[in-house]
């Protein structure tokens, strides 16, 4: 952790502040949310690293989708993601958002979350331990450092594709497109 290195702060203050102030929206789908309270309270204390839960997506820059995504919650997930201010990072937690997990055969859950939203990283496992969230945060730091956590840029670039995928599952969406067609990054 390079939070105490003043030189890095002077070189890239914006990047460093995005690294060490990850305020998270936990989208409480499925069983993954069970692992989050120990992380943010006294047992593991994520606030040491600047990771803090927030109540509203406008304050957040980290989006944790903890568990399976049913078609109904996908709508809310998309709206929440689109309300977060850029730059924003999203992490899928558990095996269900990665490839459907144990809900592979379900008629009502989506299997690959990254077809509908850009995901910067995955935490595999069913269930991942709370420590896995810390591992994910340290990986996310590395990605931010190297400008590789560019999910929000991909969302702008490939918005037409993402929107088409969303409409294929959800039918007609009741909100207008977030970015006009052909808008550059």
């Amino acid at each position: 952790m390079d939070r105490n290195q003043l030189v890095k702060w002077l070189e890239a203050p914006a990047k460093m502040s995005h690294k060490y102030s990850l305020h998270a929206v936990y989208f409480c789908t499925g069983c993954g949310i069970i692992e989050v309270p120990p992380v943010i309270t006294a047992r593991w204390d994520a606030e040491r690293f600047g990771v803090l839960p927030t109540a509203t997506p406008r304050h957040a820059n980290l989006f944790l989708i903890t568990g399976y995504v049913s078609v109904k919650t996908l709508r809310a997930i998309i709206r929440t993601y689109e309300q977060m201010p850029e730059p924003k990072y999203s992490v899928g937690f558990g095996s269900c958002p990665i490839n459907g997990g144990m809900y592979w055969d379900s008629y009502n859950t989506i299997k690959h979350l990254d077809r509908y939203l850009p995901i910067d990283g995955w935490i595999a496992g069913c269930m991942p331990r709370p420590e896995a969230i810390f591992v994910a945060v340290t990986h996310l730091w590395t990605l931010i450092e190297k400008d590789m956590a560019d999910g929000y840029k991909r969302y702008r670039r490939d918005y037409a594709q993402y929107r088409a995928n969303q409409e294929r599952v959800l039918g007609e969406l009741e909100w207008p497109p977030l970015f006009a067609a052909g808008e550059d990054v």
């Binding site: 939070r3 203050p13 914006a14 460093m16 502040s17 995005h18 060490y20 102030s21 305020h23 309270t41 006294a42 204390d45 606030e47 040491r48 600047g50 927030t54 109540a55 509203t56 406008r58 304050h59 820059n61 977060m84 201010p85 850029e86 730059p87």
Partner: protein, 296 residues
């Protein structure tokens, strides 16, 4: 030379307020047996908010956030900070009481323009709570003004420093106790944390603020914390001769507020009003009557 103090005084308040924000997160963490974030974590957060893309909800939204910050900065100019008091000769306590309402008013304008139901609930709670603690606060301030026969806060501080601090003299001890009872409500700490209540109405008036707006709101929150504590130290604890001693006195009051914050759960708004209009108001009223009858 005098104009320089108009710049230094708000900056000092800002630095102290942000230190208070960091300290309060650290203090709460230690009470809960956690390590807690570093002291400069609020600074990191504010830097992040400033560098994020922000969404505006209209002109009133922008102006409301600026109004609340400006209102807090103006109040700071009237409050003596150790020896520093830029607006020494002006209206004093009466102006402070008026100006203290500008900050919630600005937040209400911004939250109303954002048209989020959670913001509206938060705003109505904020004004109900302000109604709750302004009544005892007015009685306390009246008692202090009657006791020292002055409306200038600088003269009140000077009078206390010539003798004993206000809270150590007989009739005013009641007013000081009443102020301690309403202190968490003035600071928005936990038994009265009904306005933001993240678990309940998702940050209330701040729910739609993102990016730069949230940064300004956070700075305003730091200033509000400074103002609430500084008013107590000036009115009741005799201020201080230099800013450092003043800062130490403020730290003691902050520690008291945070201990209450850690120990109590959140009240409902009508429970909060019932409490605020019963015991603190009663004690402050008795204090005022005693000051008028025997105190002077």
């Amino acid at each position: 030379m005098k104009i320089l103090w108009f710049v230094i005084s708000p900056l000092a308040a800002l630095v102290v307020g942000i230190i208070f924000l960091g300290l309060s997160r650290r203090f709460m963490a230690r009470i809960q047996w956690r390590y807690g974030p570093p002291l400069y974590q609020p600074l990191i957060d504010i830097m992040r908010y400033f560098t994020q893309k922000s969404v505006s909800h209209g002109a009133i939204f922008d102006l409301g956030v600026v109004l609340s910050l400006a209102g807090s900065l103006v109040v700071v100019l009237f409050l003596p900070f150790g020896g520093i008091c830029p607006l020494r000769g002006s209206g004093g306590l009466l102006v402070i009481l008026y100006m203290m309402l500008l900050a919630p008013l600005g937040m209400a304008l911004a939250g109303g323009e954002a048209a989020n139901p959670n913001s509206s609930i938060g705003i109505s709670r904020k004004f109900a709570l302000a109604l709750g603690y302004e009544v005892p606060l007015l009685l306390i301030v009246l008692a202090v003004m009657t006791r020292y026969d002055s409306i200038s806060i600088c003269e009140i501080v000077a009078a206390q420093r010539a003798g004993l601090p206000g809270i150590a003299t007989f009739p005013l001890v009641l007013s000081g106790f009443a102020y301690l009872l309403i202190m968490p409500a003035v600071l928005g700490l936990r038994p009265f944390e009904v306005v933001q209540a993240p678990q309940e109405i998702s940050s209330g008036p701040l729910a739609e603020l993102g990016g730069r707006y949230l940064a300004l709101a956070q700075i305003q929150h730091a200033l509000a914390m400074f103002i609430g504590i500084s008013l107590f130290v000036n009115l009741m604890w005799g201020g201080a001769s230099n800013p450092f001693v003043f800062f130490l006195k403020m730290l003691v009051v902050l520690a008291f507020g945070l201990t209450v914050n850690a120990a109590f759960p959140r009240l409902r708004i009508e429970q909060a009003l019932r409490y605020l209009w019963r015991w603190p108001t009663l004690i402050a009223f008795v204090g005022l009557v005693l000051v008028v009858v025997i105190g002077r």
